[in-house]
């Protein structure tokens, strides 16, 4: 590092500091790994924080069974290459009940297969701290999020329990029944994430790059037909388009953008010159007013 560190150097150092503070203070942490670009950076920062030691905690992926196939492939490759301790959890009860993002409202799908599933997994393994890649710049309701975000028992987010954070002192002493979500990338922006991926030459899921893919346009949004479960409705048809994704989630809930950006450099260039903020492509956020706020209260991040 030079005499005057760049903003990425500073953000990286801050994230490493947060990882170490959390690992030292909590009994049983876990890293919530969602396979996307933010998780990729989060994981890389964690590896930097504890080098040369192996990660002192496992990764948890909550699999709704509706993720893009390329995501699952990438997840398993990463786990193998980086020698990660990966836990995959699915809400089997929700699957048995037939909950899915095509027939049910996005909010129900998310609640059952994501929020409930996450709570199940955290309880099952008794994790007291969960690292996440959330950023304050993502959305107004996250602009006030703490680095250590406390959850009462039942994973409820209670505004009055949130602790003031002064200087860079991170108080991780838990009250009875409390757990904590830790956000080492709180101060990163979407642009930083891409710049950092480019700088550190990190692999990301190929879905971020433009390619010819089978698509269906629904409610003005371009969806990708990742498997046979998503079928065109009357008046819709399957067409091949050159698309890529700015965020990744459950494929029937993730809108694509038409793009020619097929290299990491082109994606970064497109992001830096972007005219719209990234969450426009995430359908769950538009499902109901204050959606994010509500999901947070319920325990979805």
């Amino acid at each position: 590092m030079t005499a005057s560190p760049s903003h990425l150097d500073l953000l990286e150092a801050e994230s490493i500091h947060i990882f170490r503070e959390a690992a030292a203070q909590f009994r049983k942490p876990v890293l919530m790994y969602s396979i996307g670009k933010d998780s990729t950076v989060l994981l890389h920062l964690a590896r930097k924080a504890f080098h040369p030691q192996k990660l002192p905690f496992p990764l948890l992926h909550v699999d709704t069974t509706w993720k893009f196939r390329d995501m699952i492939k990438f997840r398993d490759q990463q786990a193998k290459e980086l020698d990660l301790d990966l836990i995959v959890h699915t809400n089997e009860d929700g699957i048995k009940r037939g909950i899915n993002p095509i027939d049910h409202a996005p909010s129900i799908h998310t609640d059952v297969l994501k929020t409930q599933a996450l709570k199940q997994a955290l309880d099952k393994y008794g994790f007291d701290a969960a690292f996440g890649g959330a950023r304050r710049d993502e959305e107004a309701s996250r602009a006030k999020e703490r680095v250590f975000s406390f959850r009462a028992s039942g994973h409820r987010w209670d505004p009055r329990r949130q602790r003031p954070e002064m200087w860079n002192l991170l108080n991780g002493r838990l009250g009875t029944g409390e757990t904590v979500r830790v956000f080492p990338m709180s101060n990163w922006t979407e642009k930083d994430v891409w710049r950092y991926i480019l700088r550190e030459k990190l692999d990301v899921v190929p879905l971020y790059f433009a390619a010819e893919r089978r698509t269906i346009v629904r409610n003005g949004q371009i969806l990708m037909q990742d498997d046979e479960r998503l079928q065109p409705r009357p008046g819709e048809k399957v067409e091949t388009r050159r698309i890529r994704f700015r965020t990744l989630g459950c494929y029937p809930l993730t809108a694509a953008v038409e793009s020619d950006a097929d290299t990491i450099e082109a994606v970064v260039a497109e992001t830096i010159n972007a005219q719209t903020s990234e969450r426009q492509g995430r359908l769950i956020d538009h499902d109901q007013a204050g959606a994010m706020e509500k999901k947070k209260q319920e325990g979805y991040f």
Partner: protein, 510 residues
Amino acid sequence: MSIHALKTNPGLQTPARTQDVPNLVRELGGITHLLTCGSVDDGKSTLIGRLLWDASDLYEDQRENVRRSGRKAAGTDLPDFSMLLDGLVAEREQGITIDIAWKYFDTDTRRFVIIDSPGHEQYTRNMASGASHADVAIVLIDARSGVKKQTKRHTAILDLVGVKHVILAVNKMDLVGWSEDVFRKIEDDFRTLCWKFNFWDSTAIPLSAVFGDNVSAPSTNMNWYSGSTLIQHLEKVPSRVNEAGSVFRFPVQMVLRDGQDFRGLAGTVASGTVRVGDTVTDALSNASGKVVRIATFDRDLQSASAGEAVSLQLDVDIDVSRGAVLSAPEMRPVAAQTLEARFVWLSEDAFSPTAGYLVRTATDLIPVSNIEIKALLDLETMASRPARACSANDIAIAKISLGRAAAIDVFSETPETGQLLLVDSVSGATVAGGIATSVDAKAETPSEGHFVLKRDMLANGLNRDLSMNSKDREEFMRRANEVAIILRSAGVSVAIEPPPPLDDGLDPGL
């Protein structure tokens, strides 16, 4: 810096290709954390909105929202820039006790982080909490009313938590006829006010947030003013990390091992610089060692300075773990047993003389054996008056006896290791944030009922499953802390005898 003129209407741009962005991994020259203080009436939202509009990399959909809304700034035909903060304003209804909203924008050279703390009645604790993160603060006032009591409170809080650069933004100059006399009078009052504080730089700028005068573009209405615009000034302000002191401080966060011969003391350099070959000391144990490696994931470094997260490998395995603060042997922090501190009381729960509290330093958590409120500070006059109690929003002067020694500096000399939190030992809540004003290595004379948790007492029963290697030593200390907390909540004043010396012969990791 890109200035976005109001009248231009850039249509949808064609998607960018690589060649359009010559420097893709644009790493900005640093990060400046900016706190804005002032009330809505002073035009705070409008000023921040104007900064974002004029100088930042807003998304086009955000700009379009402002243009399309048709909302006008009061009494003008200009867009209402405060809309850019609407998302944050709406979120104010969540009922978070202390809420700070963070907003990010880039100019061509720097990342700016706007720390927005609301200006309602819970002002002191909100502002203190926000200001603790700030490199520079904008104190916003209305040119028509000048320096007010509130301005005094603001500057006092900024000084208390260690802000070194203050900008007085004299807003609404249009409403005083762009008068130089009005501005100079306010500027003089502000200078006088700042004399009693420890700011390194305090600058007054006449501006109009609504019309944009001296925000990013020099004003044509105030030719008598030749100083910087607000943005020019902000881009020059150094951040805390660049201005950290020269005294080396390295709070140890944890010990990292590779299963072979590497034992790295992991942490972030809090201030100063460490170089390979330097001798470093732990003030608590007096142990010293020579730095043989400064390791990171990417490469080994020859030196590391404030803000860098590294791990230090020493030539000898000294008895050091989380909570220690490494320093140069001749410039060490005090192994403090007692300290005086100024605290901003953050909790809804008032101070209780019988509650169990812990002091949180950079990486240590120490049980308090006794805490006494001495006085409360009046932020308008800076005078203190004797008191025994304090509650939310008070600034208290307190005397604390620690259950065991901890490495602490006086905040005004080495801020990074003189910052403290007071933690409720039962709920874990952060009840106060403070700064050490004096530290003493001498313990208070034990008062009646003062109880010493002896090493043997702890080792024989409670800790008999622990060996004396460094990992178990941390667990030993953790258990001792918890016992002290329980006794303390039963009303017993407690001191902990230090654990036995390190015997790492059994440690398989070495």
